[in-house]
Subunit: 396 residues, 2 copies
């Protein structure tokens, strides 16, 4: 176990009717006028924005609205939010939605008091020092932004080149509160639910696969969350209105990414980076679906190069009962693949992702330009290695 | 899963050298002059108080000292602390020690700005509305007060009658930060280490044994923490300077009691209440040692009256492989007993606690006067039931 600082000051208000407390929770952040940020459909058409607005009115908090956030949120809307937020003299943000909406609200919260371009924080040009308080009403579990200090925004330059950057902060951008009513997730499709679950499981596993030894507490918490998702995820798919399944999945998704399973160890975000190169080239690929393809391939490579922790995972969560580490790791990969493809109906290959002729050359080149000659913490991967992992995703 | 609010704003600074950050962390609470509260020996003789004092001086924070806190901390020292703290115009508390020291600091933090008697908060006469910020440098893991909003203080009235009351707050008394350097626990004896581990495991199990169904996430986290303690605890006993074992035990102890494993369910603190009656009558009994006797007896009773969750625990953490719930529960109790007595060298019976003729009549009577005619959440216990459980502790 290595030294760590853990600070997770977000208040989670969880359960049926939790959204009614939004006004009071916003009041407690000290805000008097907030910008309500939301997406393109659900928040508005379901009447949720109106209900939240009423909760704010009751307690005397003024607000303006900013709708229309899209998946892979764009800097353009952040600029608009900053402009309108300044004009309205807001002193807080309230995000109603999933990761894209929350990340947009965080970007506005950071940019509004800063004289320069908010994008400076994302490029690393300027360190972020203050931000308006952000509250969240979560409607799409998966990204984990409700409990994290991160924000991912895509920025398109004048030549049309898109840069998608994840800004990571220790606590400045952590939401002050997150209202989580699992009933709000009943209308998510099976596909949306499944990609959320894969994203959650990836957040856990990127922390789990670590070179740091003797992290028994963090390992057991990670394994426990994975087992919860494996048990409850398929129930949420089978019956979208199974409140208890939805509740367990949603809560696991928050804990997957609020840092608790990373305590005391170096994390390894290679699979996320490898997936980013896929969805950068093939923008129709949902992040979670891409991860369902990448992670088992990454683990299959590790089964041959460093099987120990893959084997531990399988023995502890999939009841793998083989002594030899390599064989146990191979069985673990098979179990994970079966869970993704059979239980969650997720793709496992480029072909199933809808990519007939994957441009692996470009992905490998960009990956190592972005991340360095060798990448990874659990095991250092050269370009030849990452090529091999991408090749495995062909599934031939 | 039931509705819940989870708010754990304590910053944990964990690892070797963490205490050097005490000054900076205290500064971030806004305090300018703190009272350093500590116990009778280790904090002072080890030089820790001086090192922390230097860390405060470096950053320009003034301080006064209040030493001499004893186990089962008394109101008398709280009154003294409030008086001296007011005279010195302190605006923060810094506890260096374990549960007793932290609980004393919390009581002073609550009482110092209150015109009446601080004990009003504990008796429920007055709700607590504000408190000075409390920081912690943890030297004795187990009680979990570094991450909880609770404070247990004993108050002796004019006739010499002792009332030991646990004040529970949602967040007002939660420490702002906890500095945790596992090296500080190297000098704890095997006995101190073991009673701490039993206390931690009890904190987890009192939350685990719940009537609330479909709490898969919280169940898995609880089981994970228990497995960590079962794996790492004996290593800390075998080699008191095994940093990694100490670190895993200490971190598990915080998570055992900061509320994370209780999310979404009704808890059942019957075993803690039953133990309190033992240590009230026999003050030499350490809380953790008493719990090692009570908990297996309570579980043995449940094996015959409501075995389901006892069986689940055993199957998941002790590899119990029996289909019938009652048999599985009985095996679980045997496994827990073996762990407590063999691995931790803890007592399992009144006799091993040093009590030859336990006054079960008085304990049962007081228990039900204090807690009601029937007690417990997982299973409602009558006086006849609790008597039977106490009888089981005779081990005959």
């Amino acid at each position: 176990m290595e030294n760590f600082t853990y600070y997770s000051p977000t208040l989670y208000e969880f359960g049926r009717g939790a959204e009614e407390k939004t006004g009071m929770l916003t009041f407690l952040t000290g805000a008097t006028k907030v910008m309500i940020v939301y997406g393109q459909k659900y928040a508005k058409t379901s009447g949720l924005v109106d209900r939240v607005a009423n909760s704010l009115r009751t307690i005397g908090i003024d607000f303006v609205e900013l709708g229309g956030v899209k998946p892979n949120p764009e800097a353009a809307l952040v600029y608009e939010g900053i402009k309108r937020g300044r004009a309205a003299h807001i002193d807080g943000l309230l995000a109603i939605g999933g990761g894209s909406v929350i990340d947009t609200a965080k970007a506005i919260a950071a940019g509004i008091g800063y004289k320069g371009d908010f994008w400076d924080f994302y490029t690393g040009k300027t360190p972020i020092e203050e931000a308006l308080p952000v509250g969240v009403v979560l409607t799409v579990p998966g990204a984990g932004s409700e409990g994290s200090g991160n924000s991912v925004i895509s920025h398109t330059d004048e030549e049309g080149v898109v840069a998608k950057i994840s800004l990571r902060t220790d606590s400045i951008l952590k939401p002050r509160f997150a209202v989580m009513n699992p009933e709000m997730t009943f209308t998510l499709s099976g596909y949306q639910t499944a990609v959320g679950i894969v994203d959650m499981m990836s957040h856990i596993m990127e922390r789990y696969f670590s070179n740091t030894t003797r992290v028994e507490v963090s390992d057991r918490l990670a394994e426990g969350l994975l087992m919860s998702l494996i048990a409850e995820g398929p129930k949420a798919l089978a019956d979208p209105t199974d409140y208890q399944a939805r509740a367990n999945v949603e809560w696991a998704g928050t804990l997957a990414h609020n840092g608790i399973v990373g305590c005391g160890r170096r994390e390894d975000w290679t699979s996320h980076a490898m997936e980013h190169e896929i969805s950068a080239l093939y923008p129709n690929v949902a992040h979670g679906a891409g991860l369902a393809v990448v992670f088992p391939a990454w683990m299959a490579f590790m089964a041959h190069h460093k099987p120990s922790k893959v084997a531990q995972l399988g023995r502890r969560i999939f009841d793998v009962d083989v002594k030899d580490d390599r064989s146990a790791a191979i069985e673990t990969v098979a179990s994970l693949r079966a869970f993704y493809s059979v239980a969650l109906r997720m793709p496992l290959t480029f072909k199933e992702l809808g990519i007939e002729n994957p441009d692996i050359d470009t992905m490998v080149t960009r990956l190592h330009i972005n991340k360095g000659e060798t990448i990874g913490g659990y095991y250092r991967l050269t370009a030849a290695d990452t090529r091999q992992i991408y090749e495995l995703m062909k599934g031939e």
